[in-house]
């Protein structure tokens, strides 16, 4: 397989998808490191297609109401709340 050759634009794009701001020096460092790491991941090309075990089963519980966190407990770690609700940034 060809070299994945990550460029700074690609790192910037992925950071954007992941909602992580990066400083310019971080982008530079990650571009180089991602090249090495993705090169190492190329070894996975040699892995044969393998049958996955199908002995998994779903675990269900009865759909009944039960105790949960109170509204106050759920809100206690939020940086800002308003009228019993989380307060987030503007949705533009």
């Amino acid at each position: 397989m060809s070299d994945p050759a990550v460029d700074p634009e690609e790192v910037r794009h992925v950071a954007d998808l992941a909602r992580v701001d990066l400083a310019d020096d971080e982008i530079e460092r990650f571009t180089e490191q991602f090249g090495d790491i993705l090169d190492a991941f190329e070894a996975l090309d040699d892995v044969p297609e393998t049958e996955r075990e199908a002995d998994l089963s779903n675990v269900m519980r009865p759909d009944e109401t039960r105790e949960s966190l109170s509204q106050d407990e759920a809100l206690q770690n939020a940086s800002d709340t308003e009228e019993g609700q989380f307060k987030g940034p503007k949705v533009s």
């Binding site: 992925v14 998808l17 971080e26 990650f30 790491i37 190492a40 675990v59 940034p89």
Partner: protein, 425 residues
């Protein structure tokens, strides 16, 4: 606080007055939720986060009478092999000056090695209990996937991780496993272990007469010479006590560490999406639009290793790359599982050095993430295969650096690895 920075928070939590752990201190890794006591995951993102509930394992510790002396330092969100990526500073190895304690449960292993706690809980996603146990000269058990509840464990890569014990001896570790193991209605991936005689602690009888040990040659190739020598000395010790060994081939493990990192990073990119600074965590402010605000919170709240993994995971799952990385990694995972199952048909347990190298010098891994990832070659296959493993002290290098021996058992075969390990420690 400790001079080697083992605790993030040293608030004491008292358990019940009576119980099998009464009078014992059990330190808890700081990614395991403790009601009313902050739980940071070693991250600035959660530096003020106080869980409104206890993890199931913490409830069980308290019911068993344990005293929790504090929350232990760790690599940020469990992402590291050296406990140097914590936002609360690195942990030093209390028994090997100038060396890392291993990670990511470095604080838990360090407080046990230093005698500042009797026992500790860690979590192991790709070796995070076994590596620090090996580097600090103590015992660590990574249980079979599904034996111990993950309810209240802040998720890094849920398909791989398990909470498990760290202790000075195999018997002590097994006793702690007896307390935390067992199904939990809050974690649908837990299951009842098949019936077996006696407790885990009772299995620590040191009887290895007739034990058949498989040694995967791939896990010795490329390991440090002194580590390999120490490993064979410990094997000779087991042989002298009546065990026998044979070499086995596990060709799949050559690809395990790459598969592990693709899967763990992919799961991390999804799990850590929740940290946007609204419900909890560092706020990104209220100006600009919500995407900018979230990206700002995550730039400030996450350290470099966490960003690296979240970005690589996002990349591996993105359109055009999913089949190349994620799907192939899942093939590798199934292959590793098959290989281990076959090898364990002809052996009671499998043995290898826990880590291919002695504890690294502090600071040397930080600029070279790939080399740090590759140090997880012997531990990550076990998580991919969902199997139980123990790390026990095997001896020391000529420079006095601790070396760990890893024993891997069949699914829910904790008693086998505890029995075998107890012949050494």
């Amino acid at each position: 606080m400790t001079e080697y920075n083992g605790y993030v928070t040293d608030e004491t939590i008292e358990g019940a007055e009576d119980g099998p752990l009464a009078g014992k201190t059990v330190a808890v890794k700081d990614n395991i939720s403790t009601e009313g006591v902050r739980t940071t995951c070693g991250s600035a993102m959660l530096s003020d986060y106080v869980p409104p509930y206890d993890a199931t394992v913490v409830e069980r510790l308290k019911d068993a009478g344990a005293t929790i002396p504090g929350k232990t330092n760790m690599d940020e969100f469990g992402m590291g092999t050296t406990t140097e990526t914590s936002a609360f500073g690195p942990v030093e190895n209390p028994i090997a000056e100038g060396r890392v304690p291993g990670g990511s449960s470095g604080g838990s292993a360090a407080v046990v090695a230093a005698g500042d706690a009797d026992l500790a809980l860690g979590s192991d996603t790709g070796g995070s209990i076994r590596c620090p146990a090996a580097f600090c000269g103590v015992v660590g058990i990574k249980p079979t996937y599904g034996l111990v509840s993950r309810y209240g464990l802040v998720a890094y890569a849920n398909s791989l991780e398990q909470i498990g014990p760290i202790a000075p001896t195999v018997e002590d570790a097994a006793e702690l496993l007896d307390i935390i193991a067992g199904p939990d209605e809050h974690d649908a991936t837990t299951q009842e272990a098949p019936e077996a005689d006696g407790s885990y602690a009772a299995a620590a009888d040191g009887d290895v007469d007739g034990l058949s040990i498989g040694v995967p040659t791939e896990l010795l190739d490329g390991a440090d010479e002194e580590v390999v020598e120490t490993f064979w000395d410990a094997m000779a010790d087991l042989e002298a006590q009546g065990a026998s060994y044979h070499e086995v081939d596990l060709p799949s493990v050559e690809h395990a560490v790459e598969a592990y990192y693709v899967i763990a990073m992919s799961e991390a990119s999804s799990n850590l999406a929740r940290f946007d600074g609204v419900r909890y965590g560092q706020s990104g402010g209220y100006d600009g639009n919500w995407n900018e605000s979230f990206a700002n919170a995550r730039e400030e709240g996450f350290g470099e290793e966490v960003k690296r993994r979240v970005l690589l995971g996002t990349y591996a799952l993105s359109a055009g790359y999913h089949d190349k990385y994620y799907k192939k990694a899942q093939d590798a995972r199934a292959w590793v599982k098959q290989d281990f199952d076959e090898a364990l048909d002809d052996a009671d347990v499998l043995a290898s050095p826990t880590m291919p190298v002695p504890p690294m010098k502090r600071g040397e891994s930080l600029d070279d993430p790939l080399t740090m990832y590759l140090a997880d070659a012997n531990t990550t296959p076990v998580n991919l295969a969902n199997l139980p493993a123990i790390s026990v002290p095997a001896g020391e290098t000529d420079d006095g650096l601790p070396v760990g021996l890893q024993l891997v058992g069949p699914a829910f075969g904790e008693r086998e690895i505890i029995r075998a390990g107890s012949a050494l420690a």
